[in-house]
């Protein structure tokens, strides 16, 4: 499994190999003039992410009390 950096021209012209790459577990960072615009994770890589381990780490940290836990936004202007 590897991560490749590609641009939108490659997405248009090489989409078949990108689809194949995703199917074999590769991830892609789509860049626009060197600036990352999107990270595309293969379904296999996402499946391998161990949520048991991840949420054990989340629960191991002290609970967070935020003043604005919903991140509601106030009216502006």
């Amino acid at each position: 499994m590897k991560t490749e950096h590609i641009n939108s021209t490659q997405v248009r012209h090489e989409w078949k190999s990108i689809v194949q790459g995703l199917a074999s577990g590769n991830c892609y960072v789509v860049e626009n003039f060197g600036k990352p615009e999107a990270i595309v994770i293969s379904p296999q890589a996402a499946d391998k992410f161990d949520l048991d381990v991840y949420f054990a780490r989340v629960r191991n940290l002290p609970p967070v009390r935020l003043a604005n836990v919903e991140i509601t936004r106030s009216s502006e202007l």
Binding site: P36, A45, L51, L61, V64, L66, V69, S75
Partner: protein, 153 residues
């Protein structure tokens, strides 16, 4: 495809006990769907957790690198948000960031908008533009949506 609002990301990287939000977020992320968030959501989580343990932000990095796709194409999202603003005109009592989140979800082709925010209006707005909401819509969501009647131009 499910778009995650910032408050769902917060509950995914920090233990938020209100309404068992972390438990709900975990159940959502265990589903087989594809999850997306935006540069806006990523920024809002980092801002809100800035005063807390750095480990939360390390967890966010792990989540975004391995489970949740991050989209940072602001321009397309802004175009969608402005279309929403033109569609709803004065009825759009939803602020800029919420409108942008919903616009971003549309720009990505999401079918579901995941948000715990039942106060400031992104959920009814998402429903009004044809998205499903998570957690499941309740009477208050439908009541708020009915106030968002688009004006014909």
């Amino acid at each position: 495809m499910i778009y995650l609002d910032a408050n769902v990301l917060v509950a995914s990287v920090a233990l938020v006990v209100d309404e068992d939000r972390t438990e709900q977020a975990e159940r959502l992320l265990r589903g087989r769907e594809v999850f997306y968030t935006s540069a806006l959501g990523d920024y809002e989580v980092r801002k809100h957790l800035a005063a807390h343990d750095d480990q939360h932000l390390m967890l966010l990095d792990a989540l975004i690198n391995q489970k949740v796709r991050l989209n940072i194409a602001w321009d397309v999202a802004i175009i969608q948000a402005l279309k929403i603003a033109r569609q709803f005109k004065a009825q759009l009592a939803v602020d800029s960031a919420d409108t942008l989140h919903v616009g971003w979800a549309l720009a990505l082709g999401a079918d579901t908008f995941a948000s715990f925010d039942r106060r400031s209006g992104p959920r009814p707005l998402a429903m009004a533009v044809g998205l499903k909401v998570w957690p499941k819509a309740g009477p208050e969501d439908f009541a708020a949506m009915s106030r968002l009647k688009p004006k014909r131009s």
